[in-house]
């Protein structure tokens, strides 16, 4: 069966990806920031799901999971780990350290995961990397405007996706970024349009169809192209 490695899998979209791929029969490697947080892990109990201690801002943890999975082909790497600082990070109120933390998770974390796991992805059948971005990272859409740390770090993530697509093309790896829609998670609150189930079901259907022709694109959860 194919295998997937998902970061930020203890809740929200990451947990839903883990659940759906497990029920579809995939081997699921779920990266969670706190392996000892029982509530999060119990939600992920399924014989196909293997949990790993993985904070993508910590390179030693990436290295350690990579060592564990050294011989495992990974068909699909989903760089989903992310966070939002909240409504305070607006004009004149952005905190430098917190802004940099958004860069470390969304951009550095994604890049470090790709650098680390490129061999396992290249050794798989599907050879897919999916970065979970946001419509707020689109320079053209101007969604959620005013949130400097979140918007800049997601725009940077989109740039990284485009670069990875070029750099990994020769190894047959397809890299895309998704905006998952406005999904009801701990991050977005209850006023959202979609459930995690709806968003992830739609993205999985698109991911099933991805190939080299789509590499380097920015897609809505339903497959529509999003402007940069």
């Amino acid at each position: 069966m194919p295998s997937v490695l998902i970061t930020g899998a203890s809740r929200g979209l990451g947990r839903e990806f883990a659940r759906q791929y497990a029920y579809a029969g995939w081997t699921v490697h779920a990266g969670v920031r706190n392996l000892h947080q029982r509530s999060a892990i119990e939600e992920l109990q399924h014989e196909q799901i293997i949990c790993h201690q993985l904070d993508v801002a910590k390179h030693d943890q990436i290295l350690s999971v990579n060592t564990e999975l050294a011989q495992e082909p990974i068909d699909l790497l989903i760089n989903n780990a992310g966070f939002w600082l909240g409504k305070d990070e607006h004009y004149g109120r952005c905190d430098d350290a917190r802004w940099m933390e958004e860069f470390r998770v969304h951009m550095f974390g994604t890049m470090a995961m790709c650098e680390s796991f490129v061999q396992q992805v290249a050794a798989s059948k599907r050879k897919l990397i999916v970065n979970i971005s946001s419509g707020n990272g689109s320079l053209a859409l101007e969604n959620g405007i005013g949130d400097y740390p979140y918007n800049t770090s997601k725009a940077g993530l989109n740039l990284i996706t485009k670069g990875l697509a070029a750099d990994l093309k020769q190894r047959g790896i397809t890299v895309v970024c998704f905006t998952p829609g406005f999904v009801a998670t701990d991050m977005s609150g209850p006023d959202a349009d979609l459930t995690p189930h709806e968003s992830v079901s739609a993205m999985r259907a698109i991911i099933d169809t991805l190939g080299p022709e789509q590499t380097g694109t920015f897609l809505r959860y339903n497959g529509e192209t999003v402007p940069w």
Binding site: H90, G92, I160
Partner: protein
């Protein structure tokens, strides 16, 4: 026309495009506040200092205290034009498989947070001016649309993120009548661009000044090349 002299703040003014912009705006009769990290080493800038319209300020845009000090030093001035030009490339380790993450953090702090810091520190002075312009010196290397080759992740992502700062500042400062742009200076023969680049610094600076003369608030939040042509995100 008012008789009041127009004024510009240029960061990273000790060399390259920054230095050329200082020189050209002085020639044009502007009051120029030039900023650089180490004024005592900025000999070319110092050679222009016989012109009383030039002042030189110590500024490290990566350091919040330094930016705050500049805001205090210029608190009584109106600033028609702020050019956030200071930027760094970030060294050689920018390729897939060999990324220097600490360098990446440093470059983002200077190239992305730096212009945000200086813009917020000087926004009141820009608002109190006639022209009300903030120009962020970005690069087509930050254009996601045009990024077809891979590599250069550190520099490129810092300029993409800077473009997003431009979009956000344009939105946040529109009600105060302030226009905010990202500009691509061209591939210029500077220390950063190297000697085989396309255009000279005077050509780039002349083009940028023309662009700056031509834009208005309807252009705020957009990305232009030095020759005035619009660029894709």
């Amino acid at each position: 026309m008012t008789n009041k002299r127009l004024s510009v703040v240029v960061t990273g003014a000790n060399r390259g495009i920054g230095l050329e912009l200082v020189s050209q705006y002085l020639t044009d009769g502007w009051q120029v506040h030039s900023c650089c990290r180490e004024p005592e080493l900025a000999t070319q800038l110092a050679s222009l200092a016989s012109n009383s319209a030039l002042s030189i300020h110590q500024l490290d845009v990566g350091n919040p205290d330094s930016v705050e000090n500049l805001g205090l030093a210029l608190s009584e001035h109106s600033i028609d034009l702020l050019i956030n030009n200071a930027g760094i490339y970030g060294g050689e380790r920018q390729s897939f498989g060999d990324i220097d993450y600490e360098q990446w953090a440093r470059v983002l702090n200077v190239n992305t947070l730096g212009p945000y810091r200086v813009s917020t520190a000087l926004a009141d002075q820009v608002e109190n001016s006639e022209r009300r312009l903030i120009v962020n010196v970005s690069s087509t290397m930050g254009s996601i649309e045009q990024y077809a080759s891979g590599g250069h992740y550190i520099y490129r992502s810092s300029k993409t993120a800077l473009n997003m700062v431009t979009v956000n500042l344009a939105h946040d400062l529109r009600s105060r009548g302030i226009t905010v742009l990202s500009v691509h200076p061209g591939w210029v023969r500077t220390d950063m661009g190297g000697s085989s680049a396309d255009i000279s610094t005077p050509t780039s600076a002349t083009g940028l000044r023309q662009l700056i003369d031509d834009v208005s608030i309807v252009d705020s939040g957009r990305f232009f090349s030095w020759d005035g042509s619009p660029l894709p995100w």
